[in-house]
């Protein structure tokens, strides 16, 4: 096929409309969410004292951190799905959840505490956190990568890692309602480690899956 013939063929397909990346990502995440929720309700479930916990600002702050991570990662992944885009001017979005976390840690430091710092940091659920967040993230990560395949990223591995942040943020939001460790020190340590694992898996998968 010579190039003129290819051009004629492409023009004949002009009527085709692909889904915008944001819409494809939303559909894929909605399709993947039930799988993650199934894992959550089958294996973990909401903590029994959730109504009391909601009165604790540090319990609520966990959701602020994880939702900020999910939202900023969604925005960055959509931005980077354009071929000419770079992280410049957009990367700072990802610092928002980190900022909330730092503020929460300093807040906790200023309050009188019954338990020593290391006890709060190590908590009781570190292993559960490190397995549950990656396990619940995986279906969401596969969904996110599927949706982002509509895009044309210049650096597929970077977008894969951001897709990992996005799915870890969503999974951690659900997991936070199970976990009884509410100290921001615990969140900063174990949630961050779990998120880093998912982001690395995302980078590896994205490198192949998001090439166009």
């Amino acid at each position: 096929m010579d190039t003129d013939q290819l051009i004629r063929t492409l023009a004949a397909d002009n009527a085709y409309r692909a889904r915008p990346v944001g819409f494809a990502l939303m559909l894929a995440l909605l399709a993947a969410a039930p799988v993650s929720l199934l894992i959550f309700f089958a294996e973990l479930g909401v903590r029994p004292d959730v109504t009391t916990a909601m009165r604790n600002p540090f319990f609520d702050l966990k959701f602020a951190v994880t939702l900020a991570l999910a939202a900023s990662a969604i925005a960055v992944s959509l931005h980077l799905s354009r071929p000419e885009a770079s992280l410049r001017g957009f990367g700072w979005w990802l610092l928002i959840p980190a900022g909330i976390l730092v503020a929460a840690i300093s807040g906790e430091m200023m309050m009188p505490q019954r338990t020593p710092m290391m006890t709060r940091l190590i908590g009781k659920n570190s292993m559960a956190c490190m397995t549950a967040i990656p396990a619940m993230s995986l279906p969401l990560l596969v969904g996110a990568l599927y949706g982002l395949r509509q895009g044309a990223p210049a650096r597929p591995a970077v977008v894969g890692a951001v897709a990992g942040l996005l799915s870890a943020g969503l999974a951690a939001t659900v997991y936070a309602s199970h976990c009884t460790d509410d100290s921001p020190l615990f969140v900063a340590t174990w949630y961050t480690l779990a998120t880093a694992i998912v982001a690395s898996v995302g980078a590896l998968m994205g490198k192949r899956a998001l090439r166009y």
Binding site: M1, T3, L6, L10, A11, N14, A15, Y16, Q150, A152
Partner: protein, 181 residues
């Protein structure tokens, strides 16, 4: 150059709102620029320039299938050149060369560069043979025999909708095969 790029942006906007002729004109207009840039990239990497047509076709397919990532309020040229650069890097990497791709390869092409007679490429043709029969028939009817969608539908006793679906699927799987070869 500025005028040329504004014209491209206008043509692409018309194309997206459904103007097939504008889309055809746009692709014809960008091809010589892409071809010149691909040749320069190959030459700089010490590769024979006669492979440039494969790269040009790769770029055109990617432009077509990723149109939804172009922001209609932004200029078209930076988006086009970003895709072209990506495809050129891919092609050179596949040939195991060190990569020197210069942005200016794309931006600096002079409008007066002689448009060459359309050249054939080998890779698309090779992958075309590996497509499912129905998709291949439809693609060949439209590309090689210059048949319209309507004529193609009549020829294969398909509905026009089915021809459109086969055409788009054919182009998508062709691109996937080129990427994963």
């Amino acid at each position: 150059m500025r005028e040329r790029e504004d014209e491209w942006t206008g043509l692409m906007r018309s194309a997206i709102s459904g103007d097939e002729a504008a889309y055809h004109r746009l692709l014809k207009a960008v091809t010589p620029v892409l071809r010149a840039a691909a040749r320069r990239g190959l030459a700089r990497a010490g590769q024979p320039v006669d492979q440039s047509e494969d790269i040009v076709q790769d770029i055109l397919l990617a432009v077509h299938l990723k149109r939804q990532t172009w922001d209609t309020s932004a200029p078209f040229a930076p988006w086009l050149f970003a895709i072209a650069r990506n495809k050129l890097i891919d092609a050179l990497r596949r040939r195991g060369r060190r990569i020197f791709v210069n942005i200016d390869d794309f931006a600096e092409t002079l409008p007066g560069e002689t448009p060459e007679p359309t050249a054939s490429a080998t890779e698309v043709n090779a992958q075309l043979q590996a497509l499912p029969a129905r998709q291949r028939d439809v693609l060949q009817s439209i590309a090689v025999d210059s048949a319209s969608i309507k004529d193609t539908a009549a020829k294969f006793a398909m509905s026009e909708g089915a021809v459109r679906v086969a055409l788009h699927r054919g182009l998508s799987s062709l691109t996937a095969k080129l990427r994963d070869r």
